[in-house]
Every structure is written in C-alpha cells, then in structure tokens.
C-alpha cells in the first residue's frame, strides 16, 4: 500500500517546478498519514510478531522485534555459537570454539577445513548472530489451553441466534414506526430513543434475579432471548432507512391488495439490504465482544463460556507467556476481521451513520 500511495504523484515529479509545488501537499499529507497509520497498526504488528515467539525470544533483548534466535554452528559434532567478530578483514561471522578472556579460538563456518584459529578481543563484547526463527507452537498450545474451539462454538451459536432475533424484531418494530399512524406513536418513539441513555446496570439486578428465578441462571437464554424484543439503536437505524424509501411504492402495492406483511417483504426489505447487513453485523460484533452479561450469567459454567470471558480466565497465565496470549488473540480476532474486511464498505461508507445527527 505504501508504494501505491506514493508512486502515483512521483511520475511527473521533476518535469517542471509549478507542477511539483502542486504535488507537494499530496506527498506531505500522504506521508503524514502513512506515519500515523503505522503507529496505529503497530499494536497489531506487536501481536502478530509476538505470536510467533518462544518465551525465550520474548525475553531476549537481542530479539526485540522479529522472532529470532542465536544460531549455532556444528563443528566436528559439537555445537558452537556464532558471533559477529571484528577482524582485520571486517566483521566476520565465526563460531566460538574455545572462549578465552582476551583472545579466543574460532572456526569459520564458510571454510571449516581451515581449522581453528585465534582472534584477539573479548568475545563477551561481540554480538551473537541472530536468525529469523519463528515458532508455530503457540497456536496449538493456546488453542488447547483456553479451549478455543469450544469458546468459538459457544460464541458463534449465541451470536448467530441473537443476530437472527435482533434482525427479526427490529425489522418489525422499525416498520411499525416508519409506516403506521398509531396514536401516540411519536411519544413511543421518544421513549424508545431515551432508552439508549438508560444505563443497562439500572435494569441489571432485577433482570438477573428474574432470570435466576425462572431457572435461566447458568444458561445462554439470558444472552439470546432479550434480543428477540428489538433494541433502540437498531430500530432507529432501520426506521430512518425505511422512511427514506418512497411511500408511492407501498401505496401502489396496498392498492393492489397487498397486506402489510407483503409490503414489508416484497417492497421494503429488498430495498434495505445494506441497512439489514449493517444491523446484523453490528449485533454479531456486539455478541462477539460482549463481556458484562456473559460474566454475570455464565459465572461458574466454564463449559458455556464465550470468547471474551473465556480468554480473560487465562489472563494470568498469559501475563508470563505473551507468545501464547498473542497467538490466542490472533485466532480470536481472525473471524471478526475477515467479516469486517468483506463488509468494510458497510461500516466505513456511512450507512451506519445515516441519521445520527438528524
């Protein structure tokens, strides 16, 4: 991407000056953007590099960025460390055979037949030779330790059912708000919107007690069922979208004898696909991310844990094992990120935003 952004203005660069001056802001802003972007993506870089490091490599000050290890050279059946040794012919990579205080014996891996020779200088001050040496072990290990397979299955199940529920119910309610003249509907809509600022902690304790009393404590039902009753954000988004569809179409259909169901199914929904995708994705991401409610409702039921609470359980192990933590993190974000890139226009091109300030 870097080459793409910078190579475009580079062509007519030195033809003549006024043109170059016109290009200057492009180069300046694009370079600034690139620097900021790199800083912004650095955490992902850290994650993906650390995921391939062994615990030794994480702690090794010589392997700060890339997963690298010191190399050894086998000479006559014994392994010796390779060092960067300054000699008269410049710095050479030599294997340290017999360390000494002021001078040591080395062998040249390029030419082992030349045998052992002595070089002056304290070997402890020479840097060892490092080579790119990633490990894949972190992935299977963390997969098993956190039981990621089960966490994925649980989360996908909860997220999928919740997405279906929120789509079904929010479509119906948004259609009701967008198209029907019911007395008091304006007040109902204001009530709906004001539930957005109602902190969910206010309803939490009685809802928790309610779910426990009806025997839903320690099950997924509290995480799924409430989503079948619509939610203010989604209703708002869909209502705005439905209202932007001209009424002429549904009036024509109604005159032809279509019921409101048929109007919704054949007229409104086919024109609202982008908004439906947005709502569906939003809920999916919400469910993937949700922490508070699984924490409250699934306490003590490890077999039912979702990704977010399942991974924190291993927080303390991960503290001493960043490699494992980052490998698990990479696997946990793979699905959301793939979905995001497939549908990124939905997020970035503002369907989500329509109506925010209206």
């Amino acid at each position: 991407m870097a080459s793409q952004t910078l190579s475009v203005p580079a062509k007519p660069r030195f033809q003549f000056k006024p043109r170059f001056r016109k290009l200057l802001p492009y180069i300046g802003i694009s370079a600034l953007g690139l620097v900021i972007l790199l800083l912004f993506l650095a955490p992902l870089g850290y994650m993906s590099l650390t995921a391939f490091k062994t615990i030794v490599q994480v702690r090794d000050p010589h392997s700060q960025w890339l997963p690298a290890s010191p190399i050894n050279f086998t000479y006559e059946g014994v392994e010796y460390p390779l060092l960067m040794v300054p000699t008269e012919d410049g710095v050479r990579e030599l294997a340290l055979v017999k360390p000494g205080r002021e001078e040591s014996d080395y062998v040249d891996p390029q030419n082992p037949d030349a045998g052992v020779f002595t070089v002056q200088g304290r070997w402890r001050t020479f840097d060892p030779v490092y080579d790119f040496n990633p490990t894949l072990d972190n992935f299977p290990t963390s997969w098993e330790q956190v039981n990621l397979g089960r966490l994925f299955r649980n989360t996908i199940f909860i997220a999928t059912l919740g997405t279906i529920g929120t789509l079904l119910s929010s479509i119906l309610v948004a259609y009701g708000f967008a198209r029907f003249r019911v007395p008091g509907i304006g007040i109902l809509f204001i009530i709906l919107i004001s539930t957005i600022i109602l902190p969910r902690q206010v309803t939490l304790i009685p809802t928790y007690i309610f779910f426990r009393t009806i025997g839903w404590g320690g099950t997924w039902l509290p995480l799924i069922v409430p989503h079948f009753f619509a939610n203010a954000y989604n209703v708002f988004l869909l209502r705005q979208y439905f209202r932007s569809i001209p009424r002429d179409l549904d009036e024509a259909a109604t005159l032809d004898g279509a019921t409101p169901w048929q109007v919704l199914w054949h007229v409104i929904l086919p024109q609202s696909i982008p908004a439906l995708i947005a709502v569906g994705l939003f809920h999916f991401f919400f469910a993937w991310n949700d922490f508070f409610e699984p924490l409250v409702y699934l306490q003590g039921r490890e077999d039912l844990y979702t990704i977010s609470i399942g991974m924190t359980q291993f927080n303390n192990i991960f503290n001493t094992q960043p490699g494992l933590a980052m490998a698990a993190s990479m696997m946990a974000i793979a699905l959301p990120l793939i979905m995001f890139f497939l549908a990124q226009r939905v997020f970035v091109q503002g369907i989500v935003v329509t109506g925010v300030e209206k």
């Binding site: 991407m1 793409q4 475009v8 203005p9 492009y26 300046g28 802003i29 694009s30 600034l32 953007g33 900021i36 972007l37 955490p43 850290y46 702690r59 700060q64 119906l172 009701g176 708000f177 029907f180 003249r181 019911v182 007395p183 109902l188 600022i197 902190p199 969910r200 902690q201 206010v202 309803t203 939490l204 304790i205 009685p206 007690i209 079948f228 009753f229 619509a230 209703v235 409101p260 922490f291 508070f292 924490l295 306490q299 990704i307 977010s308 609470i309 991974m311 927080n315 960043p322 933590a325 980052m326 993190s329 946990a332 959301p336 990120l337 997020f347 970035v348 503002g350 925010v356 300030e357």
Partner: protein, 319 residues
C-alpha cells in the same frame, strides 16, 4: 401486552362493522401495534419493570443467598453513600478518567477524520478502513495486546521510549499511570467516532469554504469559523456518549485489574464497584442504589449538556 397480539389476530373479523374510513384507520392502528408489539413487550419486561423494581430494591437489603430475609431498609442505602469511602473513590476514579480520556476521545477522532477527508491524501478509502479496523477488535484482545505493548520489560512502548532514553513507567502496575494507559488503549478504538465525524465533515457545504477562501481566510481560520461550527452537533453528540460511556466503563478495568481495581483501587471505576457490590458481595440492595445513582447522574449530565448546547452548538436551519 400479550393480549394486544390477541386482538390483532381477531382484527380481520371485526373490520366488517363500522364506517369504511374509520375502518381503514382502525386497521392501520392494529397493524401498527402488531408490528410494534415485540418492542412494547420487551420494553415492559426488560426495561420498565426492571427499572422500577431496581428502584424498589434500592430501599431493601436484598441478598440472593437469603431471598426470604429481604426487609425494607428505608433510606439507609442512600445514607451509606455519604459514608462509603469506596463510593467516593469510585466517583473519583471515574471523574479523573473522564478528565483524561474525553479530550482525547474528541480530538483524536476529529484529527483522523480531517486526515482521511483531506483531498491531498492518496488512497483515502484504505486509510478509512484501516483506522476503523481496531475498533472491531474485541475488548479482551485489545487489553491483552496493550498489556503486552506496555509490559515493563518486554513491551514495545517502553523500548521505543528507551530509544529516546526515556525510562517508561510500569503502566498497568503504577497507580499514577494506569488511567493514561487505559486512555491510550481507548484511543486505538476511536474508529467509530472517526467515521461519525467524517460524515459530519462531508456535510459541510463547499460553497462555505469557497466563500471563506474568497474572503482570504487561511486554512486555520476556515477550520475555526466554518468547519467547527458546522460539525459542533456531532462533537456534542460524541461528548454526551463519552461521558455516559465513562460511567459504564467496565470491561477494560475489570480485565486490567483482575476485577479488583488494582493497583491500589486506582482502577475501581464506578461500574466495577457496582459489579463487585452486587455480584461479588451479593449486596444487591446497595447495588441497585448505586445503579440508580448512576442513572440519575447520567441523566443530569445529559440534561446539563443539552441545556448548555445553545451556547456552543450550531444547528443549521436554526432548529
């Protein structure tokens, strides 16, 4: 609410009586209520009743282990707020975090939105997607990655600071640095705010810029006198969201501090204290009190912001 649905089912039979016009309107009302019913039922069961019940609980000493021993506690839960040192601490932590993080939560997404809206940036769409992307990353992963980056010995941040021979703090273990560390973590997830601000910037009419240019306004003046007033409603909206969000801040604090507010209570956010009270100490009566106090505070903040908005928020069309 269940009977609303039942009348719906019976609707077609009834419509034969009455005047045709009236009939049509009544039909529309019934259909409308039918479509609204999932929310009406849900609002009643999952919002209205629990909100009232929560208020009722706040006057009791309810403990789920001994539900039969529930008794009326009068205003004692509310009196307790005044003498509870942890409550004061939680409010303090939350307000300090608001003071540190809210400015960043406004300025950085605005800056990014200006950047990705710039006509001079090549490959804008790629930038928009990539700046937005981290906000899609689950919070748990976000916290783990940043813990790694800010790790004292092996993290990149302190190594980078070390290049400039600055001794980096031990972020999450140091009570003075843990809130800035959480703020930095939050900055990574500003993608959503950036997109909303970007939409605002794209709504600024170009004629206004052209007029300002003709009048000889510099870039900075155009930003100050054209861009800012027009996007001020969005900044206002973000401000309201950020303040409400701070009182509900939970996941990051919980993970960073293992649910205990470590180090030394410096991450005992309001919502974390509420969670501990209700679900660790099972003191649900007091937990409900804390929840209602949060609700009232959030409501007051929102009302206050809406009251002051005439002074600094500009609405085109004078609405």
């Amino acid at each position: 609410m269940a009977d609303t649905t039942q009348t719906m089912a019976a609707a077609p039979a009834k419509t034969k009586e009455g005047k045709p016009r009236n009939n049509l309107m009544r039909r529309e009302i019934r259909w409308g209520l039918l479509f609204l019913s999932p929310w009406l039922v849900g609002f009643l069961i999952f919002t209205l009743l629990p909100t009232l019940a929560s208020l009722a609980f706040s006057f009791t000493n309810y403990n789920p282990l001994h539900p039969d021993q529930i008794s009326f506690a009068g205003l004692s839960n509310y009196q307790r707020l005044f003498t509870d040192p942890f409550f004061r601490q939680a409010i303090g932590v939350t307000l300090r975090f608001v003071a540190i993080s809210v400015p960043f939560g406004i300025i950085i997404p605005l800056g990014l939105a200006l950047l990705v809206n710039s006509e001079h940036l090549l490959g804008k769409n790629i930038y928009r997607a990539l700046f937005f992307m981290p906000s899609m990353i689950p919070v748990v992963v976000n916290v783990m990655v940043w813990r790694g980056i800010m790790s004292t010995e092996t993290g990149w941040l302190n190594r980078m600071l070390g290049v400039f021979s600055i001794q980096g703090p031990s972020w999450f273990q140091d009570e003075r640095w843990v809130l800035p560390a959480l703020t930095l973590m939050g900055v990574w997830g500003v993608g959503n705010a950036m997109i909303i601000m970007l939409a605002g910037l794209q709504n600024v009419p170009t004629e206004l810029y052209d007029a300002a240019k003709v009048d000889g306004a510099t870039g900075l003046q155009r930003f100050r006198h054209v861009t800012l007033p027009i996007i001020s409603p969005i900044i206002f909206y973000q401000l309201v969201l950020a303040l409400i969000g701070s009182f509900q801040y939970f996941t990051q604090a919980y993970i960073v501090s293992n649910g205990r507010g470590d180090p030394n209570g410096s991450t005992m956010f309001y919502n974390l204290y509420l969670y501990r009270t209700a679900f660790n100490f099972l003191d649900m009566g007091y937990g409900a009190t804390l929840a209602w106090v949060m609700f009232v505070v959030v409501l007051l903040i929102t009302i206050f912001l809406f009251r002051t908005q005439q002074r600094w928020v500009y609405y085109a069309g004078g609405e």
